[in-house]
C-alpha cells in the first residue's frame, strides 16, 4: 500500500538518506490485532524507502502495538510509540527516527538549561490521537 504521494515519498527518502546513522525499528504486537498488521504495513513501506538507513524487526507481544527504535550511535535515547504511528503521529515518528539517526535538532536555550538540572530519570507519557 502506498501511503504517500510520489513527492512526499521522495522527500522522506531524501530525509532518510541524510541520516548519519542507521536506525533499527522494533514493532511489537499480536498477530490477531489489526493494528499490528497496519503498523507492519506502514513501517515496511517506510523502511523500503531506504533499507540501508532504516530497518525493522517484528516481535509477538500480546499487550498492544508498540514501536521502538535503536541506534548504536544514540544509545541514550528512549522514545517509544504505543499504537499505530499514523496520521499526524507519522510526522512524530519521522522526528524520532531523525533523532535516533543523529540528525541535529533545535531546542530553546532556556529549556535546555532547565533540562540540564535533571538528576534522576523521568518518563513522560503523552496521550494523543492521530488527528
Amino acid at each position: 500500500m502506498s501511503y504517500l504521494s510520489n513527492q512526499d515519498e521522495d522527500a522522506i527518502a531524501q530525509r532518510l538518506s541524510a541520516l548519519p546513522y542507521g536506525v533499527a525499528i522494533t514493532i511489537e504486537g499480536s498477530p490477531d490485532d489489526h493494528y499490528f498488521a497496519e503498523t507492519l504495513d506502514l513501517i515496511s513501506y517506510l523502511t523500503a524507502l531506504n533499507p540501508e538507513k532504516v530497518s525493522y524487526t517484528a516481535r509477538v507481544n500480546a499487550s498492544g502495538v508498540k514501536v521502538a527504535m535503536h541506534s548504536d550511535e544514540t544509545p541514550d535515547l528512549d522514545i517509544a510509540f504505543w499504537g499505530v504511528p499514523s496520521g499526524l503521529e507519522f510526522t512524530s515518528l519521522m522526528d524520532a527516527i531523525s533523532l535516533y539517526g543523529g540528525m541535529p535538532y533545535e531546542i530553546d536555550s532556556m529549556m535546555l538549561e532547565l533540562l540540564g538540572q535533571l538528576a534522576t530519570s523521568v518518563t513522560a507519557s503523552i496521550f494523543v490521537t492521530p488527528t
Binding site: 535533571l118 523521568v122 513522560a124 507519557s125 496521550f127 490521537t129
Partner: protein
Amino acid sequence: MFCAQMVHLALQAAAAQPLLAVKVIQVDQFTDVGMAHGVLGVPTTIMEPGLVRFSGFIPGPYFATHVLSAAITPPR
C-alpha cells in the same frame, strides 16, 4: 495539531536529556491505559515518578519545569 506539537517538543527534550524517556500513546488504541490515568482529552502529558500532569501544548521552558517537578515530587 497540538498533539504533534507536544510530541515534537518532548522528543527534542529527550534528545537533549538522556534521563528523560518519552512514550507517545495513542489513547484510542490504549483506552484501558488512558482510563487508568484519567485521560479526558488530548494531548495529556503525565510525568512520573512525581505524577505531574497537564493538558494541551505548553512552551518548552514550562515543559522542562514540569520534568524537574516530576523528578522531585514524591509519587502519590
